[in-house]
């Protein structure tokens, strides 16, 4: 019967996440160190800009409001009622409080020591994940209104101050080891050995980087006798060196390395190779800085031998996704990274498929081909493993070879889609996959197909367009995809009324809110009373972005929020609206991914009652641009004249 009071505190805390995820013993340990704090009405618990102490708070009784003070204005950001948790972020992230907390009525708070909690977070993935998702959910707070964000420096904060993350700024890079270009290889190698480094930067008289020589160069070029020991080091260096600015984040470095398939980056004063070298970063440095890492993940995909391996890697990347969402890493980075992983998985699946075909003795045809991702994959927005949408273009072949060629690619696509299925990507319910003979076509056939849709825009054709127009080459001969794009743009130019049909389709999505600003939920079916975030909030934005970007004649920008960003650049008059739409789309992607991770599904449907008040508010705000965009489409494409 000892510890009566901690037991009582425990009984309360266990009713609320993340404490409900902890064992009684652990929770009791935390409860025993709680400080109960009484707050008079209107009393400030902490103020924006204050340095955090060592406690965060759970509301035991009463209510606490969180405000942001900005330019003399006080903006209510959140309210915590009984069981609500606040004041934790600065303790984990470092830095001062970003908000002011004030008791809105008499309140009793349980102040929990962060160190007793930090240990738990490290050992308890459930609790850590809850915090992850609640932090990420509050990313919604970042939603910007017309002007200025709720958290002006939030991005910077998340990027620079979160000690758990990969997005740390690389302030401390090693002092660079450099040498002039004329130095003999032997002496350069001597410097490298003395400084115990695997690379040396060759610099000019102003210390700007000319090239880089690595252990690998010494192995491949010198040890093999290709280059003599007395020749100048510039004979073995790789040039130019990819340079990055000093404020780049670890995540940024990773992306750069993955994209360019290089293992060393040079940090220079202004990020170009024309300025002074400040440091050098190797992949190994990155690995040391952090455990799980996108570059490694992508490389492991490249080495994967079967679907199970792909599945495992994709699951690991989902762990990383969680972490990123939790850390409020920008959606633009997250989607770039996840797209990279998805693409690599598809590439690997196609390669494995080809190998299987060969093992079965099926001869690869002469024709080159290109594997396309469609839909959300094509837009590079697929964060979760939603269904696969794909298509295949093969080179034009003589008529007599065509069916044989198609048969091969269909069989290949069959293997690939099956493999992706086993890796956790559901089959497309509409069978929009390269294994479907309708979507495994030669270039000319594809051109005909698109022309058909464009010149005879029946409703079904328009629907197809929304999926197929966002195609993106993932594997194979990319010029095939470029030729098809060019054909489509030409056709649209010729048949400009087509865009009006597309625009009309874009405004026909069902509205997200009722007249009384409630969420419109499904009225029947499996998802009765749930909100369909995809068709009611995301598709209207994606559809609008597609029409507008096609209308602007821009190819190669597939991402919805990048499309909006591009549009903002092209049409400054509507810049605000487009930026809002881009923000809204990022926010929706984040919500959808979080819901999906929470419910172990595609995240498309969820019940509005699951959302907190703040989340509901944020989502509602994100619907704002939909309406404005639809009226813009209506005017621009004169949809009132088009009828129906």
């Amino acid at each position: 019967m000892e510890n009566t009071i901690p037991h009582r505190v425990c009984d309360f805390l266990k009713g609320f996440p993340p404490f409900n995820l902890l064992s009684r013993d652990v929770l009791l340990g935390i409860a025993g160190r709680v400080v109960v704090r009484y707050c008079r009405p209107e009393e400030a618990i902490f103020r924006q800009g204050d340095a955090p102490g060592s406690y965060f708070y759970v509301v035991r009784e009463g209510a606490v409001k969180l405000f942001r003070e900005e330019d003399g204005e006080t903006i209510l950001v959140d309210q915590c009622d009984e069981g609500g948790l606040f004041g934790l972020r600065p303790l984990l992230a470092g830095g001062p409080y970003a908000l002011t907390a004030r008791a809105s009525e008499e309140a009793l708070l349980y102040a929990v020591r962060v160190d007793s909690f930090r240990e738990v977070m490290e050992t308890d993935p459930g609790a850590a994940f809850y915090l992850a998702s609640s932090f990420a959910a509050s990313a919604g707070e970042r939603y910007r209104g017309r002007k200025g964000s709720l958290f002006p420096e939030k991005d910077k904060l998340a990027a620079n101050q979160f000690p758990l993350l990969e997005v740390l700024s690389l302030e401390r890079s090693k002092e660079p080891v450099t040498c002039p270009p004329g130095l003999p290889v032997r002496e350069a190698a001597g410097i490298m050995a003395a400084r115990e480094v695997g690379s040396i930067i060759i610099v000019d008289e102003h210390f700007a980087p000319l090239g880089i020589a690595t252990d690998k160069d010494l192995r491949n070029k010198v040890a093999t006798g290709l280059v003599g020991l007395h020749e100048p080091v510039e004979a073995i260096m790789s040039s130019p060196v990819i340079s990055v600015p000093p404020d780049i984040t670890v995540a940024g470095v990773q992306i750069e390395m993955v994209r360019r398939r290089i293992s060393h980056l040079c940090i220079t004063e202004d990020g170009t190779d024309g300025s002074k070298v400040l440091g050098v970063l190797s992949e190994h440095d990155l690995m040391v800085m952090q455990g799980n890492n996108p570059a490694i993940l992508v490389r492991e995909v490249r080495r994967c031998r079967d679907a199970e391996g792909l599945r495992e890697l994709r699951e690991r990347s989902e762990e990383l996704l969680k972490k990123y969402l939790y850390q409020e890493v920008s959606i633009s980075f997250i989607s770039t990274f996840m797209t990279e992983v998805n693409d690599e998985i598809i590439r690997r699946a196609v390669q494995l498929g080809e190998a299987e075909m060969e093992a079965e003795g099926r001869l690869k045809p002469q024709a080159a081909y290109c594997w396309l991702a469609l839909g959300s994959g094509g837009r590079g927005e697929q964060l979760l493993r939603t269904d696969q949408d794909s298509a295949l273009i093969f080179e034009n072949v003589p008529e007599e070879d065509k069916e044989r060629t198609r048969a091969y690619f269909l069989a290949l696509a069959g293997k690939v889609t099956q493999m992706l299925h086993r890796a956790g990507f559901e089959y497309c319910p509409g069978d929009m996959m390269a294994s479907n003979p309708s979507w495994c076509l030669s270039l000319d056939e594809w051109k005909k197909q698109f022309s058909g849709w464009i010149f005879e825009p029946a409703p079904k054709a328009v629907m197809m367009c929304t999926v197929f127009f966002d195609f993106r080459p993932v594997f194979g001969l990319e010029p095939l995809s470029e030729l098809l794009s060019r054909h489509i743009f030409d056709a649209i130019q010729e048949q400009s009324v087509f865009l009006n049909f597309l625009a009309r389709d874009a405004i026909q999505n069902p509205p997200p809110l009722t007249f009384f600003r409630n969420f419109v939920v499904e009225s029947s079916g499996e998802h009765k009373n749930e909100f369909d975030i995809k068709s009611r909030a995301m598709m209207p934005l994606a559809d609008a972005a597609r029409v507008l970007i096609l209308n602007a004649g821009i190819a190669g920008v597939n991402n919805t929020f990048r499309r909006f960003e591009k549009l903002a650049e092209l049409e400054p008059a509507n810049g605000d609206l487009y930026e809002q739409a881009a923000d809204a789309y990022e926010l929706l992607m984040r919500y959808r991914a979080l819901q999906g991770l929470k419910n172990q599904g595609p995240g498309r449907y969820f019940s509005p009652s699951e959302l907190t008040r703040m989340e509901r508010l944020n989502l509602r705000n994100s619907f704002q641009p939909i309406k404005s965009l639809q009226s813009l489409l209506r005017t621009r494409f004169q949809l009132s004249f088009l009828g129906g």
Binding site: N3, T4, R8, A31, R37, Y38, R40
Partner: protein, 224 residues
């Protein structure tokens, strides 16, 4: 601040035990009437006993928390269970659920009182109907040292009375802990353990204190 160095009751007699000397030494400069409430350490405590009569009752358990700067730190709390060898069963046992006979307790009454003194030092003592609880402790203390508790005392029932409207004053039982908890919205889980009641009383005390503060009570003197 009161300076008590030279007052007789704060001077230990020859042969006083160390714990008693230490306790008395704490009062070298105790809180005075002008001490601001924010700076005072209050010890809110409650006891359970074998009976409701101070003369016959013996301590069974003792719970205390300290309140300072509007906070209750659970790390700094006290929960003691006392071994009583004889069993004068009375109604109180049925109420408290603590059986005498050493099943719960491991400390002697004397040890418990010594630990309580070391815990409170010169803090202001707070309790609900504190005279009963302080009386029990004083009874032991007198046997042990010939002295009694020197701390300033506050009764939450009396504080509540100061805040009460005339209607409430006439009401039967209006100032029982149960009724006050109801009035001030304090949840009453596991009542009737000394520590549990001390915790509830501490929360009640904070709420009463805030209301009195609003009426201009800012120093200890105005509170006593």
């Amino acid at each position: 601040m009161d300076f008590n160095f030279f007052r007789k009751k704060y001077r230990p007699r020859a042969g006083s035990p160390d714990y008693w000397r230490d306790y008395l030494a704490c009062f070298g400069h105790a809180y005075g009437r002008r001490s601001p409430l924010d700076e005072v350490r209050f010890v809110v405590f409650d006891t359970e006993a074998t009976g409701l009569d101070i003369r016959k009752g013996h301590l069974l358990s003792l719970g205390a928390v300290s309140v300072s700067g509007w906070q209750i730190s659970l790390e700094d709390s006290l929960e003691l269970y006392i071994r009583q060898d004889y069993a004068p069963v009375e109604a109180a046992i049925a109420v408290h659920g603590i059986l005498p006979g050493g099943r719960q307790g491991s400390l002697s009454e004397e040890e418990a009182v010594i630990r309580f003194l070391a815990y409170c030092r010169h803090a202001v003592l707070v309790g609900h109907h504190i005279d009963f609880d302080a009386g029990l402790i004083n009874k032991s203390l007198y046997k042990m040292t010939g002295g009694k508790l020197l701390n300033k005392r506050l009764d939450t029932a009396a504080l509540a009375l100061r805040l009460a409207g005339p209607g409430q004053v006439r009401q039967q039982g209006a100032f029982s802990l149960d009724n006050l908890c109801r009035q001030y919205h304090i949840p009453m889980s596991d009542r009737h353990t000394a520590a549990g009641d001390a915790f509830i009383t501490a929360i009640l005390f904070l709420k009463l204190l805030a209301r009195l503060e609003k009426r201009g009570v800012r120093t200890l003197g105005r509170l006593l």
